[in-house]
Subunit: 244 residues, 2 copies
DNA sequence: TTTTGTAAGTGTATTATTTACACATACTAA
DNA sequence: TTAGTATGTGTAAATAATACACTTACAAAA
């Protein structure tokens, strides 16, 4: 077993979409007084851990995800590295580090990754009781600089989604145009006109209709689509721009 | 004096524009046989160095720039962190590290920054004899993963320049529209129509004409402009898009 | 069986943006 | 005086973006 690099960690901002809102997976951090066992504070952080000696940072990020959520082979991309001294300037973070990880340097550089999953595939209850989904627009108290981290991850996601069809990572394999529109609206924090949105989608040859309809809904059932990565790479020239 | 973090460095891709081409500042790396003094190889790298314990990584990047070029207070932005094991997979890089820095880990994570300067302000001769400008589209042999690093930095610059008026960092304080167009053409590797380009620029209220003309040119002298950061921030809503 | 509620699905006209394109001008150097 | 060179300018056509309203198919309730 290799040692952890004391100054270097990875943090994963895991985004999930539940067809209503865009969510982030957070893990609870609870500091108890070592003697009285009183709760000193409770807050949340994104999923992170230190990097091992000789471990590629991308692997470190996958490892963290796998370990903390059981998720494997999911969309994962680096977005920014946080390396200021003010990352731990908050008193509670200093207490936490001093009590829990006294041997760790007080200057940790953290490489930020973000990950995209269909939240229906990841229920927060299964064994990982300390992780939980929170809507990005209604976050709880966060540790370290993780508020800034999530904001930056979201900006990065927005810019990426403007250029590339990565939204499908947040949807189930089969989806409707309305689900897709809702997703784009959540990510961009904006409303789109339904007809114009559908016009745009119909130009994306890689969004392919199936001979299948929604079932069990109390309204006209929607047509079901899939995303084809293959077709996307073959027809890449098309510009994708969801500017609001 | 604080110690260097053995696994963590910063690398700066310094871009300069000489009104003809986009250039990158590189430093020569020359490995001699310790006994025979024969040259084993010569190649080039971008400017980099290890991060100090307790040093914010942005400061480390500024420090490297200042130390290697004398430049201070110039445009500097982080773009990506390189942390694969294959960064040093090349044999010559391993030799170099073994001979020159035997105490340094063979797995170094490097935070990549890029910097923008007017190349006329930075002549490669002044005291820093080992640094030299090279056109981005005609680079010499590069050490480590620095080819990929420069490519990624350029992509990042392109995307940034599409959204924000940072091109002026690469131009002298006073410039002509043609110089500006040439710059955009170099960065994007594309040609633009002169009239359409000028139309776009004339919509940028933060590009301000002076009561001044070019002098000593063998053609109709061009009008001189300056960029106003102030006006830019006050009129930010405008969208800037130099998609080709 | 009928009614009600709900989201799906569809086309056109208007406006804004992007593109393509050619000639007169002002200067230096020969 | 002439030749050479980069500057400066406007319009028409094509494309892309926007705004906007009614019919349809289903489940659930009456």
């Amino acid at each position: 077993m290799k040692a952890y690099i004391p100054n270097l960690s990875v943090d994963c901002v895991v985004f999930g979409f539940d067809h209503e809102r865009l969510n982030v997976m957070l893990t609870k951090r609870e500091l108890l007084d070592p003697i009285t066992k009183d709760v000193i504070f409770i807050d949340y952080t994104v999923l992170g851990h230190h990097v091992l000696e000789g471990e590629p940072i991308d692997d470190a990020a996958s490892r963290v995800l796998k370990h903390r959520t059981g998720l494997d082979h999911i969309y994962l991309e680096q977005f920014y590295t946080f390396g200021g001294l003010d990352r731990m300037s908050n008193e509670k973070d200093q207490m936490w580090t001093k009590l829990k990880y006294p041997m760790i340097s007080d200057h940790v550089i953290s490489v930020g990754y973000y990950s995209l999953v269909d939240s229906f595939e990841v229920k927060p209850d299964d064994k990982h009781e300390n992780t939980q989904w929170f809507p990005v627009d209604d976050l709880p108290a966060l540790g370290f600089d993780h508020k800034e981290m999530i904001e930056r991850a979201l900006e990065f996601l927005q810019r990426k989604l403007r250029r590339e069809p990565i939204g499908f990572e947040l949807l189930p394999e089969k989806f409707t145009i309305s689900q897709m529109q809702k997703l784009y609206e959540c990510v961009f924090g904006a409303k789109f006109d339904r007809r114009n949105f559908r016009k745009k989608v119909s130009q994306m040859k890689y969004v392919i209709p199936l001979d299948e309809k929604q079932k069990g809904v109390a309204h006209k059932p929607a047509q079901v689509f899939i995303f084809s990565k293959d077709v996307y790479y073959r027809t890449k020239k098309e510009k994708l721009d969801f500017s609001v």
